[in-house]
């Protein structure tokens, strides 16, 4: 009886995909979540536990007692900031040329950025030592030309780290900036020009503000990735001004001080998270990681 009263429209079944509980795809989230819990979250918890219990929370005291560690905290932060600033100063004009140049040129410039992006970091860093060391290409050339009498100190200092890390991280700055430039409607700058703006003014008032999302995304990702860099500072940096990641490796591998190493690691992690959190106030996390690409 009730069935007879059902209006005919009801006989059409609603597409099952629209119903929230019954989507067959939902269950596929579990393998990934379990994997991340065991191999990503658990390791960080283990590290935190070690830092607090092996032998105890006094592991963190090292930052107050030994100036090497407090200085490293500052070195890490300042180096990362410096690398991000230098990378921005190089990447913005580079991205702009890619944006403004003819297609073929853009493709070449794209490949130039991509190749180092995907060639082993170790190979690249090692190659920089070939150029920068005391007997390296630059010093030999300058000595032969008579420009200098003594070889210059180009690596094993902040200069070397900045060169190596800027080189390594430049693609992460170029791509978000370039893609945000591509999203700027091409008529806007010509429009500003007809309205009376000089090329410089049109750039400053229209193009630059509209490319800022890419700049922020690039700056944050380079800054954050620099904080945890290990290979480049280890090969090109000064043995005296260590970055935190170097101290972590040193404590674990050489000193076999798991507690202290973990404590330094946790401080590095918290620093990273704090900066990321501050960054997500301005742009979304996904945009930071993927450079704003869809």
């Amino acid at each position: 009886m009730i069935e007879e009263m059902t209006p005919p429209t009801k006989t059409l079944p609603a597409p099952s995909r629209r119903s929230p509980s019954r989507s067959p795809w939902t269950a596929l989230i579990w393998p990934g979540l379990v994997f991340m819990a065991l191999l990503f979250i658990l390791p960080f918890i283990q590290t935190a536990v070690r830092a607090l219990t092996d032998p105890g929370p006094q592991n963190f005291a090292i930052f107050f007692t030994d100036p090497v560690y407090s200085r490293s905290l500052i070195t890490t932060f300042v180096t990362a900031l410096f690398v991000a600033v230098v990378a921005l100063a190089i990447a913005y004009p580079y991205a702009y040329i890619m944006y403004a140049a003819p297609k073929a040129m853009t493709a070449v410039m794209m490949v130039l950025v991509l190749l180092p992006f995907f060639t082993s970091l170790l190979v690249r860093t090692y190659a920089w030592t070939v150029w920068l060391q005391e007997t390296g290409i630059i010093n030999s050339a300058l000595l032969n030309l008579g420009v200098i009498e003594e070889p210059l100190q180009l690596m094993r200092n902040t200069l070397g780290v900045t060169i190596g890390m800027t080189h390594a991280l430049l693609p992460f700055m170029v791509f978000p900036i370039y893609s945000s430039m591509l999203r700027i409607q091409p008529d806007l700058v010509p429009a500003a020009r007809t309205l009376g703006a000089t090329p410089a003014l049109a750039f400053r008032t229209v193009f630059l503000p509209l490319s800022l999302p890419g700049v922020m995304s690039g700056f944050l990702i380079v800054f954050v990735m620099s904080l945890g860099y290990y290979v480049t500072p280890a090969l090109l940096g000064s043995p005296r001004d260590s970055m935190m990641s170097e101290l972590v490796v040193n404590q674990i591998e050489q000193q076999i001080q798991f507690g202290t190493g973990s404590a330094i690691g946790i401080v590095l992690l918290v620093l990273t998270l704090a900066i990321l959190f501050a960054g997500t106030r301005i742009i979304s996390f996904k945009d930071i990681v993927t450079g704003g690409r869809p």
Binding site: A192, R193, L195, G196, L210
Partner: protein, 373 residues
Amino acid sequence: MTQTQLRQPLTMTATGGELRIANVRKSYGNSRGVESVSIDVRPGEFLTMLGPSGSGKTTTLNLVAGFLDPDEGSITLDGKELSGVPPHLRGIGMVFQQYALFPHMTIEENVDYPLRVRKIHRAERKSLVAAALELVQLTDYAKRKPSELSGGQQQRVALARAFVFKPRLLLMDEPLGALDKKLREAMQIEITRICRELGATVVYVTHDQEEALAMSDRIAIYNAGRIEQLGTAEDLYKRPETLFVADFVGESTVIKGSYAKGALVHHGRSLSTQGAHGSVAEGSAAAVVIRPEDLTVVPATQTAAIPEALNTLEATVTKCVYLGQSRKCLLTTATGLVINARIPLHAPPELFNPGDSATVTWDPANSVLVPSD
């Protein structure tokens, strides 16, 4: 009181400048260039450049705006040469196809932009922006961002921004291309009203002939980098000078043949051109163009009543479409010529069924004679 105060600055905007484009040539590697284009645009005139895409109309506009430099020829505004003057110093307002509103600025800031760039005093800027927004009826939207406005509203902002600094010339590059048909028609009226009120000189680019006919004082028909004809809508419709114009503007029947002794010879048939507009050389290839409303279609059985002076052609009805006031009918002659005619609704029913035989007739004085290729 406040009303008149607000309107005050606008009356000052008036008088548009005079644009002269003389023998301008611009070539690219590929097509899209222009070849010896000359146009004089009178002060306060609304001139439209109409043509198929790639015919050079946008190139001409970019040459005037200063985004391109001509290879040859000169462009002057009020007698001053523009070549070599960068876009920002030309003082020409431009409305872009996709509006080109600055997405990071409010409507007010967008309209204020050209005034701020010119370092005009704050108080004056404020009243000019208010007056411009009032003219385009967007006063209530001043504080919004462009993305919060509809397409038609964004278009009006773009217009306000282009005229707020009282340019001597307004350029518009297919400004209605992104709007739907109904809105487009409303905006045609709106833009014409605003431009008349401002007394602005306008150069308008479109590929939509209805738009061009509805808005313009004069129209320049572009084809393959050249201007085929420059004239009023009526000139172009009634007195086309080339086959391209005749074909491009409005519907027509084109009969090709060769011209001899006051008549067009089409597949052996001599069609009189007595009193027709236009002239061609004796013996040259020519075409007669007739508008649908100048053609009369009569049943094949009633040809006796046709006066001697009129031309006639026998044809077969191939298709008829009901249009409300009349029927639009296509007929084909034995020679394969397609005739485009209107048949009144009260015509005998044997005239608008496919396969019906009919005789098409017209007064040679209502036809136009143009050179053919």
